[in-house]
């Protein structure tokens, strides 16, 4: 018997507002425990919630980005349960009448085809605090309420995801979308994006869904994929052996790469949802929604298209750059700088970010070079240093300047990598580094010619080999010239001169 996999995701995204959902406390991450608190988020007796307008705007922006219907009326409900990180003993969420319903996200599936994944709903809710447990299991636990009341958007997908890889791509698409719409930074390290998975197997050809298992506790997209892969294997094995699955909640153990049972659905909480009487129904008028729609920045799909047409990038590079709005923004800012080789007249075409680049620059392939540098050197350095691009020592204009130095032949590609490393560690500009280290490429034909002559004289045997037909000897000689000039010689000039001088010898 073969089975089809049916996957649905629940994604909690932390919205990047300055203040919390229902009070004026800061949402800043990493502050001293319990310093961003007040009677409201501490749930002190008598305190009342008031919705932050910023949360509403971001919630609507998210709904629009996810192609949802933003509802004119939605209602906040209380989800009741006891836990020490939940000071009111209920979480304010949305239940029967969520803000956004019925959207979709388009992904490219494993066969390279577009696939639409439905979004059931995307609703607003508040986060709970954080428990910090002592290393000693019998030791005390501490509560930090700084996170308590931080705004979340819960996105629930339709059970339309068919493979772990699709789940991965769907998550990447959601993350990209939320970052673009300015809803969330989606930093996994800070817990700004958390995923729960529902997965069941259905006999091929049948319509009825199988028994659903919920998996929690994955802290990366790769983890989600691994958990799903494990779970599908496990469920297939159970079903093939003729046993039955019970609906349950399972935890993913990252180290073991396996899921373990946490609780059965019979033990599930009864959350006793009911409309929160402290908050009036949320009424949105059309002008407000339209205002948010107008303020939405360019979304990834449109940006990818523009990068290929305007900058002449490949679809692959455009997609990689656009996977983060910050990276895309960095690229555009760097590409907007005027290349040193370009005629001054092209300046009139404008250089500001978002403005089409000078046609001459596109023709010169400068944007393509910038894209290559971002996707290789910059990404490598940022990953090694674990910094985001907007906190990186090298700014867009600094990268542009480095590219221009290469283009003008002032430094070689190899030297550029050294210069770049120093830019990363010191934050200095490419110009000042090449100046101070005397790294400028030697382009003086006489100086290089002298070095070539010296090398030819020092390596008579190799020259003989070359003349005898051993063409690889040429490379050795180039290397010797570079060594003699401490790597500063323009490689092209070295090649030309060496070729000419060897040719001249043959003729002798």
């Amino acid at each position: 018997m073969n089975y089809d996999t049916v996957i649905g995701l629940e994604i909690h995204v932390q919205m990047c507002t300055k203040t919390k959902t229902f009070c004026g406390c800061s949402t800043e991450y990493g502050a001293r425990p319990n310093t961003h608190t007040c009677p409201v988020c501490l749930g002190l007796p008598g305190a009342l919630p008031v919705l932050n307008r910023g949360v509403l705007e971001k919630g609507v922006a998210a709904g629009l980005a996810l192609n949802c219907e933003v509802r004119g009326t939605s209602i906040f409900a209380r989800k009741n349960y006891f836990y020490p990180d939940l000071p009111k003993a209920y979480q304010i969420s949305q239940y029967e009448q969520p803000l956004n319903v019925g959207g979709f996200v388009v992904i490219i599936d494993e066969n390279g085809r577009e696939k639409r994944i439905g979004i059931t709903r995307a609703h607003l809710e508040e986060d709970a605090g954080k428990l910090i447990h002592d290393e000693d299991p019998k030791g005390p636990s501490y509560v930090d309420f700084n996170r308590c009341g931080v705004p979340l958007l819960e996105i629930v997908s339709e059970p339309e995801i068919g493979t772990p890889e699709e789940a991965y791509r769907f998550l990447a698409a959601i993350k990209e979308m939320m970052q673009y719409a300015g809803v969330s930074e989606c930093s996994m390290e800070k817990g700004e994006l958390r995923v729960d998975v529902n997965v069941s197997l259905r006999k091929q050809g049948e319509r009825e869904l199988g028994v659903k298992q919920e998996i929690k506790n994955m802290n990366s997209f790769a983890g989600v994929k691994r958990a799903l892969e494990y779970e599908i294997k496990r469920q297939t094995k159970v079903l093939r052996s003729g046993e039955r699955l019970r609906p349950e909640t399972r935890l993913f153990d990252e180290n073991k790469g396996a899921t373990v049972s946490m609780r059965s659905k019979e033990e599930a909480h009864d959350y006793r949802y009911f409309p929160d009487p402290d908050l009036v129904p949320l009424a949105l008028d059309r002008p407000f929604i339209e205002q948010v729609r107008k303020a939405l920045p360019e979304l990834p799909e449109a940006k990818r298209r523009r990068f290929t047409t305007e900058y002449g990038l490949t679809g692959y590079d455009a997609a990689l750059l656009c996977s983060s709005p910050k990276v895309a923004g960095f690229f555009e800012a760097a590409a907007a700088g005027r290349g040193a080789l370009l005629p001054a007249a092209s300046d009139a075409e404008g250089t500001a970010s978002g403005v089409p680049p000078p046609a001459a620059a596109v023709r010169s392939g400068r944007p393509k070079k910038i894209a290559n540098w971002i996707l290789t050197e910059l990404t490598g350095a940022m990953n090694a240093m674990k910094v985001e691009i907007d906190r990186f020592a090298v700014t867009p204009s600094m990268l542009g300047e480095l590219i221009d130095l290469i283009d003008s032949g002032e430094i070689s590609g190899k030297m550029a990598k050294e210069v770049f490393d120093e830019m990363v560690s010191t934050g200095k500009s490419a110009h000042s580094i090449t100046e101070s280290r005397g790294l400028k490429q030697v382009t003086d034909a006489d100086e290089i010619g002298a070095a070539v002559d010296e090398v030819l004289a020092e390596h008579e045997k190799v020259v003989k080999d070359y003349e005898g037909g051993k063409s690889s000897a040429f490379g050795f000689l180039v290397g010797q010239v570079m060594k003699k000039t401490k790597g500063k010689a323009n490689p092209k000039l070295v090649n030309d001169l060496l070729d000419r001088k060897l040719g001249a010898r043959e003729k002798q």
Partner: protein, 481 residues
Amino acid sequence: MGLNEQSIETLRELLKSGEITTTDIVRDIDAAIESDKRDDLPLNAYIRFDRAEIDRRVDKSEREKIKGLPSRDLLRGIPIGVKDLINVLGSPTTCGSEILKEYVSPYDATAIINLERSGGIPAGKLNMDEFAMGSSTESSAFGPVRNPHDRRKIPGGSSGGSAAAVAGGLAVAALGSDTGGSIRQPASMCGVFGMKPTYGRVSRYGLVAYASSFDQIGPVTRTVMDGAILLEAIAGFDPADSTSAKVETPRFSELVNGGAKGLRVGVPDEYFGEGLSDEVRALVERGISLLAKAGAVTKKISLKYTRYAIATYYIIATAEASSNLARFDGIRYGTRFVKTDDLLTLYKENRRKGFGSEVKRRILLGTFTLSSGYYDAYYLKAQKARTLIRGDFEEAFKEVDLIATPVSPVPAWEIGTLVDDPLSMYLADIYTVPVNLAGLPAASVPCGATAAALPVGLQLIANHFKEGDIFRAARAVEALQ
């Protein structure tokens, strides 16, 4: 007569002329409380009356006075007792419960901020039914409150401390809260004026919630004028309360003398049926006749869904309460009764020892009606009934300005008699809960006393934000007493 027994109106003049100071009034109140403590059957109206705390507030008020805020003239330094579920910074807010016995509030309720801005001084925390759940002020962890008219009788509840203090000369005026009649019923039984304002008129920020969609803070006073002054002082839109109404606060203290002439008063049949004591009926009818004498026009009306009000109220209010009171677990604040490593034991023991039986009964009831499988049959159905009851009033107010009814079907009863009969106690709320279901303003104004000298109040209900009409009519009844 001590200053403690004067009205706000009188004291305001004395303070204005400089004849007396706030401290003189506080001293007289303190003396009255101390003397009452020596009584064989003390009223037990206060949970806390701390002179040092009050003096600090008086000092603060004196400093504010220099700034010359015109709104200060409303209360001019008059001390006002506060029901002990309204937060006053630096003071315990016990809600009459073991679980909050040690809890000191780190902030002022908006009503307290408004009170001080109007020149009032929060002075003392008044006894109440635990978490405002009760109609007799017997469920307080600080002991029952007695009725000043007959100390063996209950003062009504849950704002029994507020009503008893004002009636017994232990406070000039007081703030109470009304969820299903908790201001009006004790005001009626103690023979003072008490008003539940329109839902949204007074900010609930800082009022410890019993049932959020019903709770309102309101005045308990000796005279109707005092009630108008005090409501004017505490009312107003508050951005910190999403359910607060964005409406101007009328000058109630001026409207109050408008007279009852021309007011159309509806008398609903359903409020004079079975269960209403003959004596109360006669006194309430007398009150209505006084209104007519003052020039009001009375007519019979019908509020046909009244009989569903008790069930509707006790389903929705307890549902909200079960959620509102879930935060009291002794973990972050409040009394912790056990030392244990087990989380569930901690929750269970703190709540088992921290709450009294009436509070537990209502939490259980509310938890049940919200449970999956019962929600539709109880909570949702009750919400539909609430809409119908509200519709009843909407219809009625197309024809009348006010509705006149009894407050309680019976006068104050003997302490202890209904403690073990919660259902009878709930049924005694029949005339007050429909008002809270509809979010309307209503007041109890004294309209006489029974043969046993127990006071009885007349309930006057108005349309949303029409408290002015209530004050006018109540003032007229008061004048003709």
